[in-house]
Symmetry: C2
Subunit: 286 residues, 2 copies
């Protein structure tokens, strides 16, 4: 079986994508699956149009004309002796920095892979309901199918913000790169794991150290994992908001949409930052 990588035909076993390609690191790419009938593509132009629509939506500039892609598809079909078969055209963001960003990525790569027809294609199938839409992935899974987060963050950047807070209806689940906490009336709140947020390592560490912290009234901080997660309006009237992840630790949010918090870091966020630094120092001591 022959594949086509950026115009070069080669045995599919030898086709490799750079590990720095964000298609590999973040699932940041698109594909089209094309059916070939007697050496001819069915609705090739509709597939290429959908590819270009998708590329525009994810701000991916495709450097290839339709003519280039069609020639590559035809060459790959011919190299595999199609006939009848299936070609998949995959385009990826290209190599970039080891961060979920769009800037500094590229050029994109394209890859065409081929397969024969399954003799059962089109025959009757049985089906079941999948309990939830699979796009709502499990919080325990830190998947490389990360494109939705990449795009949410890119949209935030485009709007002049650093981070995106991911919402479902009017509740907030997490940020595009970490978990979310708020301090409201001396209580620390965070969306529970069953909200669909990631089971963050730093989130767990913050919940640990929060128990030893003192709230604004000098009493031990009360920690609450909000059932049904945290509402947008809770965050906008919060005293303090911060984000957590393994790389940045505790990140104060200074501004949320057009609301600016009085202090960033606020008193409690600053205290938790210090306690977190101390925890890290203790656990990573030589």
């Amino acid at each position: 079986v022959k594949a086509n990588l950026n115009g070069t035909l080669l045995p599919v076993e030898d086709a490799r994508l750079p590990a720095q390609d964000h298609g590999v690191l973040y699932g940041d790419g698109l594909f089209e699956t094309l059916r070939v009938y007697g050496g001819r593509f069915f609705r090739l132009s509709a597939h290429l149009e959908r590819l270009r629509l998708g590329a525009a939506q994810i701000a991916l500039q495709l450097p290839w004309t339709d003519g280039v892609l069609i020639a590559a598809l035809e060459a790959t079909g011919a190299a595999n002796g199609f006939g009848d078969g299936v070609l998949r055209l995959t385009v990826t963001r290209g190599a970039g920095p080891a961060l979920p960003v769009l800037d500094g990525c590229g050029p994109p790569n394209y890859l065409i892979t081929a397969r024969g027809l399954n003799p059962q294609a089109g025959s009757p199938v049985s089906a079941c309901f999948a309990g939830r839409h699979p796009q709502a992935s499990s919080p325990a899974i830190k998947s490389i199918s990360y494109q939705p987060f990449v795009l949410a963050r890119a949209e935030a950047r485009q709007r002049g913000f650093d981070e995106a807070l991911l919402t479902v209806d009017d509740t907030v689940v997490e940020s595009s790169t970490g978990n979310l906490f708020a301090v409201i009336g001396g209580r620390l709140i965070t969306p529970p794991l069953d909200s669909g947020c990631l089971a963050g390592i730093t989130r767990a560490a913050v919940l640990e150290i929060a128990e030893s912290a003192l709230g604004s009234k000098g009493k031990p901080l009360s920690v609450e994992e909000r059932t049904g997660s945290v509402r947008k309006r809770d965050l906008l009237r919060a005293d303090e908001v911060f984000l957590t992840n393994s790389v940045s630790g505790i990140q104060p949010v200074v501004r949320l949409e057009d609301h600016t918090y009085r202090m960033a870091p606020g008193a409690l966020t600053g205290l938790l930052q210090r306690l977190y630094r101390e925890l890290v120092a203790r656990e990573t001591a030589g």
Copy 2:
């Protein structure tokens, strides 16, 4: 910058993953981002535990002991002169057939990439709300971040079914590999594009040909894209149900959960299959 691919240290530019790896084709893999402080990992065991929990959830057998992964992480940190920095451990499903399946894939690959610290890490950030949870990707985007669909289909197979119908609450959006149609009382219905389904090329072709088809009463078939999409119970009392995609064309559903349809293909499904074959033959004629 040095990367580590399955135990081999090499310049990151030279690290490449096979195009047949389902991590590349379907975003089917996991990752962990680890912060290194003065040459020591913070909560490495918690990261590895989350990786193993995630692997178990996606039925990915990791062939490496913690000792192997820890040694590889330490070697990669040392090769990059850490100090303080960030390592990312990526594990992928491994090479497999060009289909969204788990069977026949592997062995898994692991890749460790390294980066320095962003000097702004931990400093205050601005944030905005992202209009919808980004896991609900746009129907126009056929993303390689495909793992949720792979897993839904694998779950269906495990339950003894061929396909999974993806639901949101009590409505059905699409199948794990295509669009969904039902015939109810002589009308053809399908979830509308704003339900979150893919804008399928075959879906569009079926909507075209349905206009020339005749319903059970000999009158032109009425086609309806159901607002708010199609409910589970609509499907269970439908006369006919079928799935569409570019590879298989029109696939009759013979059984849905414990309900078996009277005929598969039903009369109208069979008619549409014939009209679709004729359309394909016309458009791909030499």
